[in-house]
Amino acid sequence: MSERVPIALEVNGETVARTIEPRMSLADFLREELELTGTHLGCEMGVCGACLVLLNGKAVHACLMFAVQAHGERVETVEGLTERKAIADIQEAFHNNNALQCGFCTTGMLVTAHEMLSRGDILSREEIRDGLSGNYCRCTGYQAIVNSIETVAQARAVAGAAPSKPE
C-alpha cells in the first residue's frame, strides 16, 4: 500500500479534509469517504457518464480523476445541486415525463442537463441529443429524457425573457 496523503477540498459548499491513498478516484472518495452515493459508477472508464460531478463548475467524470487531483478545488455533486435547488425544475420534468426506469443513469443525466441548460442557449433536440452523447441509459431509450430537457430549456427561456417583455 502506498503512502496516504492529506487532502482538503470543498464539496457541496463545505470544506472536507481526509487522508487517502493517491490512487483513490474522486468517485470512490465521494461515495466511500463522504457517503455521497448519488455519484454512480458504471464503467469507470469515462464512457457511461453515471459519475459526472461539477469540478469548479464544469461537468467532469469523477471516475477519470484521482481525489488528490481535487485538492484545493471545488466539487459539487448531484446532492449539492439538489440541495441548492439548482436542478429542481429538471428533476420535476424528469418526474413528469417518466424520464427514468431504474434510475441508475439519472444522476449523471441531471448533471449533464444542468451544464447544458446553464449555458442559457435555446437548445434544439439535436443539440440536446448531442450533449447527452456521453451518457448511457440502459432503460429508457432517451426520448423522455430529451423531452424533459427540452421542456426545461423552453420554460427557462420564457422565464428569463419575461422581465424584459412588457413593452
Partner: protein, 294 residues
C-alpha cells in the same frame, strides 16, 4: 478496475517536473487531463511508481498570437478549442474538429498537449497538426527544442518526445485571408472515435487552389498526410475531374489494415468518399461561412 498504488507528486513548474522525473528514475508518468491516462491506469495497462501531475504548471497554459504564429499552451482544454476566439480566428480547423473530440465532459478536462503526446491515430487533433503544419515546443532536462508535426508521429503511440520531455506548446501558422479549411469524420455514433476522418487546409488564389495539406485519422498506426492527393490538387481549380484524380491518388497515400469492425477495403472506400466530400466543400468560395456544428 482500480489503479495500482503510486506516489503522487504535483509539479508547479516544468523544472520541478524534471526533478521529480529524475528522482523517480524514469518509473513515472506525467498526468495532464488524465482522460486517457486514468483509464489506462485503472486497467493496469500502466503501473508507474510515481504519477507527476503537470496540470497546474502555469508555463504550459495560455493561447497567444505573436506575428504569424499562434502559440497554444499544452494544457489548453479541448473545450477551449470550441470557445476561444483566438482559435476560431487563427486556427479555425481546430475549432471545426473540436466538436468531434469525445464528449462534453471529457472535453472539459482533456488537454491539447495530452492528445498530441498520446498520439492516438484515431484522435482528431494530432492529425490536424499535420494539416496545419504545426511545430511543437518541447522542454527537456537539458533544454528546449522544436519539432515539426511532420515526422513527429513515429508509430502507434510513439512520438518524437524523448522519455521525460514535456510538450510545452503547439505553434500554428495563423490562418490567412486566402486560406480555407474543412473537417469531417465518419463515425458509428456521435462522440465515438471515427472509422475515418480528415481535415484539409489550403491557400487559394481566387478559385484556384495553390496548395493544400490533407491529413487523415483512423487509417493507420499514426495520423497520416495524403501527399499524393495533395499533389493532385495543387495549382488546380477543384473541378469534379481534379477531385476524382485526388481520390484516385489516395491509394498511394493510405494503406489501411483490416480489423474486426472495418475491412481495409471498406476503410479505403470511406476515405475516398470523405475526401471527395471535403474537397467539394473546400472548393466553394463560401466554405468558411458554413455553420460549424457544436
Amino acid at each position: 478496475m482500480k489503479a495500482r498504488a503510486f506516489k503522487y507528486v504535483r509539479a508547479e513548474t516544468v523544472e520541478a517536473a524534471f526533478d521529480a522525473y529524475a528522482e523517480a528514475d524514469g518509473d513515472c508518468v506525467y498526468l495532464a487531463g488524465g482522460q486517457s491516462l486514468v483509464p489506462s491506469l485503472s486497467l493496469r495497462l500502466q503501473a508507474p511508481a510515481v504519477l507527476i501531475d503537470i496540470s497546474r504548471i502555469e508555463a504550459l497554459t495560455g493561447i497567444s498570437k505573436s506575428g504569424d504564429v499562434l502559440r497554444v499552451g499544452a494544457l489548453t482544454r479541448h473545450a477551449e478549442m470550441l470557445t476561444s476566439p483566438e482559435i476560431a480566428r487563427h486556427a479555425p480547423l481546430l475549432r471545426r474538429a473540436a466538436p468531434y473530440v469525445a464528449h462534453p465532459a471529457i472535453r472539459n478536462k482533456g488537454t491539447f498537449g495530452g492528445t498530441i503526446a498520446l498520439a492516438d491515430p484515431a484522435a482528431e487533433f494530432p492529425a490536424m497538426t499535420l494539416a496545419l503544419d504545426a511545430e511543437f515546443e518541447i522542454a527537456g532536462p537539458d533544454g528546449r527544442r522544436t519539432m515539426k508535426a511532420d515526422g513527429f508521429f513515429r508509430d502507434l503511440f510513439d512520438t518524437g518526445l524523448e522519455p521525460g520531455e514535456i510538450l510545452v506548446a503547439i505553434h500554428i501558422p495563423v490562418f490567412g485571408a486566402n486560406d480555407r479549411c474543412v473537417f469531417h469524420e465518419l463515425a458509428r455514433r456521435r462522440g465515438d472515435y471515427a472509422v475515418v476522418g480528415s481535415g484539409i487546409q489550403g491557400t487559394f488564389d481566387g478559385d484556384r487552389l495553390l496548395s493544400a495539406r490533407i491529413a487523415f485519422l483512423s487509417v493507420a498506426s499514426t495520423p497520416v498526410r495524403a501527399r499524393h492527393a495533395e499533389a493532385a490538387i495543387a495549382n488546380q481549380v477543384l473541378s469534379p475531374e481534379v477531385i476524382a484524380a485526388a481520390q484516385a491518388a489516395l491509394s498511394e497515400d493510405l494503406d489501411p489494415e483490416d480489423n474486426e469492425e472495418t475491412s481495409a477495403a471498406m476503410r479505403m472506400h470511406l476515405a475516398r468518399v470523405l475526401l471527395g466530400r471535403l474537397l467539394g466543400q473546400l472548393g466553394r468560395a463560401d466554405c468558411m461561412h458554413e455553420g460549424v456544428h457544436a
